[in-house]
Symmetry: C2
Subunit: 151 residues, 2 copies
């Protein structure tokens, strides 16, 4: 069972000025475009009715060597505990699939203009899923170290 082979194909790519680590500061207000392959254009019909989408993408710049780490100290801050990689949203999970909730600004043909997409220019997009009430927890609990890491 452990040897299941999973092969995926990008449905499109991210187009943004946020090109490389360090080249442009990541901000909550970054606007990007998701350009789907033309053959998938019809698959977007009606998507403009949603305000928010989940974008799943393949973080192609994460090296395989970065993905063997299982413990990490959030933001490299010594006063925070060492926690498991799955307890963080860091990029270096064993499977480098990115997940970001974005605001949909505009849909035109095979292109979506979105806000807050935390992905570099050229990132392969794997899927787009509209956000509905089932994706929204009523109340969440977070670890105390997570809250401290935000200050």
């Amino acid at each position: 069972m452990g040897q299941v082979r999973i092969a995926l194909e990008p449905i499109g790519f991210v187009s943004t000025e946020y090109a490389e680590e360090g080249s442009k500061k990541r901000t909550d207000s970054v606007v990007s475009r998701i350009v789907l392959k033309k053959k998938y254009t019809k698959g977007l019909r009606g998507i403009e009715g949603y305000s928010h989408l989940f974008v799943l993408y393949y973080m192609h710049k994460v090296e395989k060597s970065e993905r063997s780490q299982l413990l990490t100290r959030p933001k490299h801050r010594k006063e925070l505990p060492e926690v498991g990689i799955f307890s963080t949203r860091q990029r270096n999970h064993p499977n480098p699939i990115g997940l970001t909730l974005v605001e949909l600004l505009r849909h035109e043909a095979n292109t979506l203009q979105v806000k807050n997409l935390d992905a570099f220019d050229g990132t392969p997009v794997l899927d787009i899923k509209p956000c509905n009430h089932r994706d929204i927890p009523r109340k969440i609990r977070l670890p105390s170290w997570w809250l401290r890491s935000q200050s």
Copy 2:
């Protein structure tokens, strides 16, 4: 660029009584276990501080032939418009990656007990990401056909 090859490896598997389509009705209260491969046990350290997680999984029962459809009528209801596959949460997207927000009930060694996971027994798990405030939209807008499809 379109020929990027993306190969992923399961980090673990879903264990649940929800074995096959039709064998047990999908309910919001289904409790499942995610059993990670032992080599990833350490990666879960501290995850019990979170109330909610996103689980990404590979929907291995979706046949390739099901994934070529680009338009769909929600719940096969004639009075609803035909919309694009990316405008729905149906399983037959081109890349069959499932995404479910679950409630974390318990963490013990390499196993998580979770509530609401919409995945069959034996489903390969690709990633686990804790839910935080950035994943929660303040207010969402949904298409009118989506709202009608819920009644």
